[in-house]
Symmetry: C2
């Protein structure tokens, strides 16, 4: 470790040393010095609530919701490499919905029904390309600078896919695989159109990709990292088609979008374009990239594009070499300290804040100055930086309370630091200004955090969630794989108050907290939404066309409309099932023993499955979703004649 | 509806009518009268707490666990047709672990790694037979009449499989597919050996199958239900091989085992062997079957067995026709009212309680009298019934507080009824004895319930969980698919107190609540447990044998031991990854973009995957499980040469 770090270790409380066993251990073992740039010794003596909460004190608002009472907020949570999205109620922290997205799910039949396979991109034989996914970021659609409750988007880093979730039914309806990239990580919807003031809602989703690859990635140039590139991508929010991509220098990471619709940004931790981690952190400065959406789309329209491989997506050139003049540049590269992680938009629309990760600072970038850069009125993009407050070790992500304060996770310090943005800007010129308001120990190693309605104009400063990557001793032990700890903090007062530990199946990366009145759901489908619907039990039956057999059936508690049906071994069977029950919450299931099929049909919903009748015998198709006092008796017999 | 039911409807509170919209709706639509046998009009005026709790009162013990505090109990929860098992902390209701079992799981790599595929029964090509499952019942292993914390078992009704979970690592280590059956539903481990008093722990798991099928089920006799049969099965707790099966009249459902090790039982809701639900409920009486384990095993040993189809499992004949003399009979058929659901063993070891489902009664069966039946000392097995208390509509399952009280779910009434077992036995002869102690409305339509340590000699009467099948309005709406509602009730006092609504992803069927000191976990593996372990980073490398390539790699935060490796398009690649980190909770992930592979390695664990290098290019294998400040930088490059 460097001399500077040694000093730092002595200065900090012993707790930090303990915590870092997990967080920075192993580096010594591979002969590497992290080279943490600076420390928080310059902090301006804010009163700290650290320690008190660690001892279990929790004088904040009560997170327990009495039986029969409802939560105040929806939490839309990434499911990490479970491949799913999750919906939590807050403040209770109760998981009220899993939404299968990139994974397969035996309960809903996601990945099993023909309808879900289509969304997942199945080929003509019904094979889906992937059954795994690694979700990181969830963001909702906007109108008028706040959530409109229409859609949420979630990314898959593993296979570079973007999925859309309908917030009326809480189901995934579209998935798009992004070409030319790998390690697609950050996403953010835009908040209005850059040009047309009438379009004040989300129409684009911006996507950042971390890993650089040859273009096209076909094996040529594979061993030559100097030929690797990264792209920034824009997806159409409605069609979910990729609109355009921007070739950049360096890589992307997280993404933010401005309230005026004109700018999107991505932080860049690997300006060096290194392929090994010590190369990736060799430079003292990396960057936050700003994309001028209007100019990019004009360039696309003007055909100043190219394509790679079999992809037809138009790509514009956003590299520094191709953009020497700020007045026409598509991209601004604003320098920020070493390996930043996270870029967040303050709810007043004025600033983007980039965290330092390997620097103990946050970087506050003034968007009006970024606009000035693009107007050619700044000499250097660094002039857009208006503050670099020192806040602690390993700063990653920032949330806002709508009252001018920012909350940043400190991964290495296992803390949240609350700091005042205006004060930090003043302190950039006057070192005597105090900007740190409070600190709170969290358990342990926090990644993302978010506050209720944080990145909207309605940020309300009530609750702060923080996704802790290690839970260690906070829950009953359950073997080598620990849950993560999503902690809940009351931020309504000056001091932060930790009120609850919520264990979660790894690994939520990010989440948003949405006021419950923003989301309007439907509890019952409409038969007319489904072209295959069996609208009347009398339409039930078996139809044969060569060796293709279509079985139409309805469910109505406690019976399927067919008592039995016969097919022949070798047939290709398509079973269509409509749930004719209309009562909210009266879902039926359909399991076919030994045929590896299960799915549910919600009230008035229709689904279908196609399979080969490969085994002769009697197979009791049964309702797998408890529906009625005679649920166990709800069955039909599939007789496969040998 | 029958005249009797009309009277009943008038007599009951209006609430019940509302609730039953979902529960018994639809029957009229298919021209069917349920024929509920009797009602609870004869109840002996117990004071009721129903209503009060529905209004949100909750004066019971607090379920909120302060940050940093631990729960008192492990809840081992079925995941229903999600195919998984879940671990909850109680009283908080927090989910602290999912255990993938019959499903695939992108996070852990269950169904993806070679090790998990082996447990799942993959063929030589690596294809697993099923990716779906429908779990219902979870039970733990016993020693000395209480949980020993060694194993839990969980069934798959869809494909008739039994899985075992190690409770030191909370991972599934064995799965057995049971031959000759369909709709395998109830399970229960035995509690000691029927003969050898030294074996006072679980060595067998009993399994009941609901659906009757031809034997063998090969297409012959498929259209002739008179040729269908059901079997009761015994699986070896250690080897997980099927020891024996018993051919029976009628079907099986739930299962219980006696504390003396001598008896297992299954309730039978389809004595009629009907194939349509109106046939299944035509008889006024069904049965609870008692299996004489010692006699069955003697018959197996004596070779009085047959086999079916390709199965080698010995099957003894337990039908009534083959067992005319109680003194040699393998099975006792004790009559109980109409379509019973649930059979539970009281913690004092004396009674099994069968619920009525379509009868408003519970049936208390005295095990000492069942032994007398097998000794030829009873004229009729019905003489073993010592009480038939009327408790309410739709009784399903019973739990115990260890103080002589039983708690039974009433599906149609949406209530829990607390009743005293001894008082019910007295009331069987003296109609003036009151046995109902309390009633509590639950939300809504409860299925299983269980009390802390209920079916052990250490039943402690502190907490009661109840799995409600419908949650309706109890949580923020999340579209057509509602969560289920696992409610928590404080049963430490005379009156039950509802303290929390816990939403869960459908559909938990059953669960057990285990005192936390019963379970001892391990948080770090041992390298020596894994034959393929890469014990030193220096052993890393690529080994080629024709087109088969083995890649050995280790992970140690924040790096993989290989910076890159090359293979050729078309190679069969086996990647072996050992996590050399030793710190508890320091799990790494391994995701291979575009290759549909993700899995984790916990501290000191080794896993492997085998795949075909079908695409040329650069593929950034990255750590998917947040591990370190430089987690994002933790990658290696797989270069697939075209």
């Amino acid at each position: 470790m460097s001399k500077e770090n040694d000093k730092m270790d002595v200065a900090l409380q012993g707790r930090r040393k303990f915590l870092n066993t997990a967080a920075i251990g192993g580096l010594a073992g591979v002969g590497l010095s992290v080279g943490l740039a600076g420390c928080n010794k310059g902090e301006k003596g804010a009163a700290s609530s650290a320690g008190a909460s660690a001892a279990g004190e929790h004088a904040g608002a009560a997170p327990h919701i009495a039986p029969g009472q409802l939560d105040d907020y929806y939490g839309l949570w990434s499911g990490g490499h479970s491949g799913e999205m999750r919906v939590l109620g807050l403040p209770s922290g109760r998981e009220i919905r899993r939404i299968p997205v990139f994974n397969h799910d035996a309960l809903t039949g996601w990945g099993i029904t023909n309808e879900s396979k289509k969304v997942l991109g199945a080929d003509a034989s019904g094979k889906v390309p992937y059954i795994t996914g690694d979700t990181h970021h969830v963001h909702g659609s906007y109108a008028d600078g706040t959530y409109d409750g229409k859609y949420a988007w979630i990314n898959d880093k593993l296979h570079s896919r973007l999925a859309r979730i309908r917030l009326d039914t809480f189901e995934c309806d579209k998935i798009t695989e992004i070409p030319n990239v790998q390690g697609f990580h950050g996403i953010f919807p835009d908040k209005r159109d850059p040009v047309d003031p009438k379009i004040n809602h989300t129409t684009r989703v911006f996507c950042g990709s971390e890993f650089s690859i040859p273009l096209p990635n076909d094996g040529k140039d594979a061993a030559d990292p100097s030929k690797y590139h990264s792209l920034f991508t824009c997806v159409d929010a409605e069609t979910m088609e990729v609109r355009w991509q921007v070739l950049i220098d360096g890589n992307c990471d997280l993404v933010a979008s401005s309230f005026d619709g004109k700018l999107a940004a991505t932080n860049q931790y690997n300006t060096e374009m290194g392929v090994m981690y010590e190369e990736m952190m060799s430079a003292e400065k990396d960057a936050c990239l700003f994309f001028n959406i209007e100019r990019i789309e004009a360039a696309v329209k003007a055909g100043k594009t190219k394509t790679y491989g079999s992809s037809k997506v138009p790509v514009v050139d956003g590299t520094k070499a191709a953009n020497p003049d700020p007045k026409t540049s598509l991209v601004a590269y604003v320098p920020v300290p070493k390996n930043p992680h996270g870029v967040n938009a303050s709810p007043d629309g004025k600033y983007f804040i980039c965290s330092g990760k390997l620097s103990p600072t946050a970087t506050v970038i003034d968007l009006s100055l970024v606009h000035k850069f693009f107007a050619g009125e700044l000499k250097d993009p660094f002039e857009a930086v208006v503050a670099e407050p020192e806040i602690g070790l390993g700063p990653l992500h920032t949330a806002f309370d709508g009252r001018g304060n920012a909350f940043t996770t400190l991964f290495l310090d296992s803390q949240i630091v609350k700091w005042n943005v205006d004060a930090a800007i003043k302190a950039f010129k006057d070192k005597n200004v105090q900007y740190v308001v409070d600190r709170l120990d969290v358990q342990y190693q926090p990644g993302h955090l978010n506050a209720s309605m944080s990145e909207t104009r309605e940020a309300d400063g009530k609750w702060l969630g923080v996704g802790c990557k290690f839970s260690k001793d906070r829950f009953l032990p359950v073997g080598p794989l620990h849950p993560e700890n999503e902690q809940l903090i009351d931020i309504s007062g000056e001091k932060m108050k930790l009120v609850a530990d919520h264990p979660v199946w790894p690994e939520p990366h990010d989440f948003v907290i949405v006021r419950r009145d923003k989301i309007k759901t439907r509890q019952v489908y409409d038969l007319d939404e489904f072209p295959l619907a069996v609208k009347d039990a009398a339409q039930s039956g078996v139809e044969r066309n060569g060796n293709k057999v279509t079985v139409r059936m309805a469910s109505q508690a406690p019976a399927f409309s067919l008592r039995d049906f016969k097919v022949k071994k070798g047939d290709e069977v398509t079973l269509i099932l409509t749930n004719l029950d209309k009562v909210e919450d009266l879902t039926h299931g359909c399991g076919i023993p030994k045929y590896d099929i299960n799915f549910i049909v919600n009230p008035q919903e229709t689904k279908s499955v196609t399979f080969k009748a490969s085994k002769a015998g009697v197979f009791w198709i049964y309702c797998t979703h408890f529906c009625h006092a005679l649920h166990l008796e709800m069955r039909t017999r599939m007789i496969v004649e040998g």
